[in-house]
């Protein structure tokens, strides 16, 4: 028994769900050997319905046909919409009303058949084989066989794309992280071995935990560089699950890996080796477990002049780098720049003015007379948005000996930081 899917979408994936022997007959047609599946599905109608259901589930729009030989199934799938089952022995009758053009004959043969008035399968099937062989040759005979639904051939198998996924159904729900770690280690070991045998590595781990409450807990870990280090993967998963624990005991574990080519890079002879990417990822995960998520990374300036506008991103993650604001660089070889130490959030201050200039400052942990001052430096921006900003900055030397940057905005005075 053979099944054929004709339509659009990932037809091969649907076929591989039912059979290991799949042929990509044409870009829009896939044929597979479903012999023996009657033990699993029962009647051919049940099998055809299961195929159609699976196609709908995976978003494939296709006509499904089942027949005793592959070509009859292909003709039925191309000729009829929906689900069709070609009865064994009655193929010629079932396919009889289909147009001959469906057999895709050569242009010359098509023209000859048109001139003879042969338009349907049944017309071609009724012609004597000897006469066809004399007038149309081998191609004509093959077309007649196809039209009668009698053509027999072997499928040209399509190699199944390797899927790096492992699943584990647990006998009893797992509640603690430690036993889960043992199970994950087993899955990771199998997957990394399979990747290694194919000379591949992974840059993404997908963990799906089915919980006792019928809910699922999904985590995806993206690595900065392809790797095959199972021990590091296990540590990363452990840290991630410790930071994001599942809400209920786990009944089933599914772990998938994204197969990619391993990365090889030549380091410079006189350049200090950078941290190994997966090791750095692991260190970052450990640090984030201490300081909090999103508090470690490489700073990236945002394309705005709003003060203190930046974001943190993973090291090596430079996918979308927005244009940083134009900076007037100071030549640090000639004159090292002086930096500001930011107070996050800025400290609200009480400022006394004398002749329109700040003369006394009091804020959390800071208090004193203003000995020297310069300003105001007026800045504003984003006035075209719903979140505009505007402020007057002053640099001051306080009687406590430090230099500060303060600013005045609509909400009052603030200390932004100290120069250092």
């Amino acid at each position: 028994m053979f099944a054929c899917l004709h339509g659009t979408g990932n037809l091969a994936a649907v076929a591989f769900d039912f059979s290991p022997l799949v042929e990509q007959t044409a870009p829009d047609t896939v044929t597979c050997d479903v012999a023996g599946l009657d033990r699993l599905f029962g009647a051919a109608q049940e099998l055809a319905a299961a195929l159609a259901r699976r196609a709908v589930e995976t978003g494939v729009r296709a006509a499904v046909a089942l027949a005793a030989n592959p070509d009859a199934a292909i003709c039925a799938a191309r000729g009829f919409s929906g689900v069709s089952i070609v009865p064994q022995g009655d193929e010629a009758k079932f396919l009889g009303r289909l147009p001959v053009a469906l057999l895709r004959p050569s242009a010359e043969l098509q023209e000859t058949l048109e001139r003879w008035g042969i338009r349907r399968f049944q017309d071609l099937a009724a012609l004597p084989p000897l006469g066809i062989a004399e007038r149309l040759g081998a191609e004509g005979l093959q077309l007649r066989e196809l039209a009668r639904g009698e053509a027999e051939r072997k499928l040209t198998p399509l190699e199944e794309p390797p899927r790096f996924e492992e699943e584990l159904e647990l006998e009893y729900p797992v509640e603690l992280l430690e036993p889960l770690e043992f199970l994950l280690a087993r899955l990771l070991n199998g997957l990394t071995t399979r990747l290694a045998t194919r000379g591949l590595a992974t840059n993404e781990l997908r963990l799906r935990l089915h919980l006792e409450t019928r809910a699922t807990h999904e985590r995806t870990l993206r690595l900065p560089a392809p790797s095959l280090d199972g021990k590091s993967f296990l540590k990363l998963l452990r840290l991630d699950l410790a930071a994001h624990p599942p809400a209920a005991p786990i009944e089933r574990i599914k772990l998938g890996m994204n197969p990619v080519k391993p990365q090889a890079a030549q380091g410079g002879l006189f350049v200090l080796a950078a941290p190994e990417p997966v090791k750095l990822e692991l260190t970052l995960a450990r640090i984030q477990a201490i300081v909090g998520e999103g508090r470690a990374g490489c700073p990236e300036l945002l394309d705005t002049h709003r003060p203190d506008a930046f974001r943190l991103q993973k090291p090596g993650d430079r996918h979308h780098c927005p244009k940083a604001p134009l900076l007037r660089r100071v030549d640090s070889a000639v004159c090292p720049p002086h930096l500001i130490r930011m107070y996050r959030p800025p400290r609200m201050a009480r400022v006394t003015l004398a002749s329109g200039q700040p003369s006394f400052l009091a804020a959390e942990g800071i208090r004193g007379r203003i000995l020297e001052r310069a300003g105001p430096w007026r800045t504003s921006g984003d006035w075209w948005t719903t979140d505009p900003w505007s402020r007057d900055e002053w640099d001051i030397a306080l009687s406590d000996g430090a230099l500060y940057r303060i600013y005045c905005e609509i909400r009052g005075w603030f200390v932004e930081g100290s120069y250092d």
Binding site: P299, P325, S332, P336, M342, D420
Partner: protein, 233 residues
């Protein structure tokens, strides 16, 4: 007496070579400020360097100068920021390549900063690991035990990493191989009501080497305040 005899025999076997017990010289990297490099010989790799001084004494300027130099040498650096005080904008303007800088924001927790620095050193591969406790209250910084500093010193030993601690006062004591005390001599001011005026013009900073050896002093001037262009939109 026996040890002295054995040593004499061993040295005679070495053909009179007496330097067999001498430690190999530590590699030093430039700080980015020639005056300091002249006075100190650079920052030693595999050692703890302590930079301390009062607020506004130029500690952050020196630190960023070191980071700019390291990132320019294609080294990957880490900044463990105990008080969340780092300003990426002025650091970028000072020449720090931000994609080569890992910034750990510890949210006003010095204990977290110490643990993060330890993890970074254990991970390895960094050119510079800077532990910034510059805004940490003096009392909190003093509470860091000498054992913690010793642990950091041991972690960085025999690695090519330069470990830098920035503080208000020296706390690492014997664990630091190089101690630099910074103090501001004067601030240069400029500006006025004009829109094109600058504010704080720069600082004159004195650096005193407290360790090793005799105290040496250097003076450098930090530059003008960095401003993003086209601020008036």
């Amino acid at each position: 007496m026996g040890a002295a005899l054995l040593r004499k025999q061993f040295e005679s076997l070495l053909g009179g070579h007496l330097g067999w017990q001498a430690k190999p010289a530590t590699e030093a990297v430039p700080s980015g400020i020639p005056e300091i490099d002249l006075a100190t010989g650079g920052l030693p790799r595999g050692c703890l360097t302590e930079i301390f001084g009062a607020p506004s004494s130029g500690r952050a300027s020196l630190l960023v100068s070191i980071l700019a130099g390291a990132t320019a040498r294609q080294e990957f650096c880490a900044l463990v920021d105990a008080e969340d005080a780092f300003d990426p904008l002025s650091a970028a303007a000072a020449g720090v390549e931000l994609p080569r800088l890992l910034w750990i924001r510890c949210g006003h927790n010095a204990a977290h900063a110490l643990r993060a620095a330890d993890l970074l050193l254990q991970g390895g591969g960094f050119g510079v690991v800077a532990l910034d406790l510059g805004d940490t209250p003096v009392r909190a910084a003093r509470r860091i035990s000498l054992t913690s500093w010793f642990r950091l010193r041991r972690a960085v030993e025999h690695t090519p990493t330069v470990l830098i601690a920035v503080e208000r006062q020296s706390n690492a004591k014997t664990c630091a191989s190089l101690m630099l005390e910074l103090s501001r001599e004067q601030a240069r001011w400029s500006g006025g009501m004009l829109a094109s005026a600058r504010l704080l013009g720069g600082m004159r900073v004195a650096v005193a080497r407290r360790k090793p050896g005799l105290a040496l002093t250097a003076v450098f001037e930090s530059g003008e305040r960095m401003l993003a262009t086209n601020e008036h939109r």
